[in-house]
Point group: D3
Chain length 131, copies 6
């Protein structure tokens, strides 16, 4: 029940189709997930968001699997159900095993815990960390 | 200005010293950062937190650098200044270059953006992601 | 499945009905949404919350549409599904067009991204911003 | 460096002074902390916020110490440095010992961890919890 | 639709069963909720998380009801639907009445509000709170 | 103490200078704030972030002042000290009065409160909001 509805490929205009085509070509897949269909009512946001994601998630100093796992860790921290579902799928496609998922979740959970211990106890930053 | 103050090694009792010694041996370092000194007033939490962190951050299906970077991504998402400082240092010690940091931050920022686009537009989870 | 159930108008006592009546009169509507029905088990919270919302959302230095959009931006940031749904409806009733919604979401997403870049990179506040 | 500055008692008008007087009388103290002085530029928000806090924090089904500890748990979760400082002081004044603080922080940290494990693993709510 | 599925008691190996047995014995109940079944694919995380929760939630300087309510306040703040459901049930089992729930939610809501007023207005921490 | 330091105009290469020049021209100002100087070590992120911000914050269906206020509401919700400082300045430059700021903060605070009441009480979304 996306706010403005979902725009399917067959109902999309040429500008939206061009983005959809690039998503499918880049990701080597034959379908478009709902996130993009929900953004497609606003071609400016659709195009900018896709171009940004495409640039950021490309292989670089970090490999695509590491990037997908970081995306999933952030999404779990923010409790975004949609993004957890989509990036769990994305990370698996990029090679994440069950053992890697388990460690990713363990680190994510622990970081959320110690973040609160550090601020809850008002711990000041060590001088050594400032340089 | 940690809530209960910081317990230095020379003022610590044998139980706290045992944890401090294990932290320094495990991390191959000769100092203890403030986080642990602030927890040391409560030996139960100090010991449980360290044992958990030690277990979780050990090499496994994911390498220590990847784990440190995930920790940093979560800490940046939660805006925990202490943890951002300490895990930036930790990730660098584990081998994170400036180029890797830049990509880590880019992914973290983008994930925080699309998390809100997905929920803000009330996007429903694709059936394909549910299986 | 609200924790304490929903109190419908016909089952409500006079104190709750008085709040419901004021909500409908103020909002020029003939129904009460679930949020208020879920709070109605606690007349103190129901009354205080409604009086606060009524005062805060009234036209003032900011118009009601701007206020509804700010409410929606916060709700999307917090990923509160109920509030996203109810304040999307509220903002539309107040005059939000699809184009305005698209820009609202774009700003909300971007702010969530740059919030993490600023804290993730440990950027210090400029002196000029402090005065 | 509060955005609009801090309004001291001696510079406050009669409406602000009336709120300040009630805060000091209710809390049995002789000073006003910065939070209220920063709100005082907007008498409407100052008065509404104080009246709400006064009502909510009064003894009821929960005692004031429990309420202060819940306030602190939420503030640590949100990483609000000001509120952590002020409600640590408030909880201590209400009787929180170091041992209670330690357990409060342990619960807060753990809840933040398992919140992410539950959503990160996409755990569905048990039927038994829905009734 | 937990990511790795749910492991039922009858399908669990001896290590997982040992944890399940301890959960049921400690909590004086005859069933295991989905959270643990979802973690059971990773015996390390299952065991560590349970041992931590068991230690933290045991009676100490704070009673179990207070601890469950703090857990619920954090879960509501983080908007974790699963944890809100499970810890509402847990707190009720520990003795939380509707009146206590109402006050717990009122404090949680108010803390979330004033957290943002304090940081939004850039209120500096009072010197008195620093010592 | 930005993680990678701040790149001043006089030390910047031509690509970074081009972005700085465009920021100053677009914003009709003669200085660059620290956020951009901290990003400048990564020309890709600097350029993409600026191009996105420039596009999103331009006048459109919403005016620049409304956009700056939404940015500030999100930043206060996320407790990002840097962004609160910079967007308070940005909103004021765009015309935000003290009275508008006060109402903006009141709405932001209230939204954060009711977000938690809605999820804490497990309120289901009204059918009317789904269409």
């Amino acid at each position: 029940m996306a706010t403005c509805g979902l725009i399917e490929y067959e109902n999309a205009g040429p500008e939206v189709r061009a983005v959809y085509d690039d998503i499918m070509a880049t990701r080597k897949t034959d379908w478009i997930n709902n996130f993009w269909k929900a953004l497609a009512h606003d071609i400016t946001t659709l195009r900018r968001t896709w171009e940004s994601v495409k640039q950021i998630m490309a292989p670089g100093a970090l490999d695509p699997l590491t990037k997908e796992m970081i995306y999933l860790a952030v999404s779990a921290t923010n409790q975004c159900a949609y993004c957890i579902a989509s990036h769990t799928a994305g990370a698996r496609k990029a090679g994440m095993t069950d053992a890697m998922l388990a460690e990713l979740m363990a680190v994510t959970g622990m970081a959320n815990e110690t973040n609160r211990l550090a601020s809850g106890y008002q711990v000041e930053i060590d001088e050594r960390f400032k340089t």
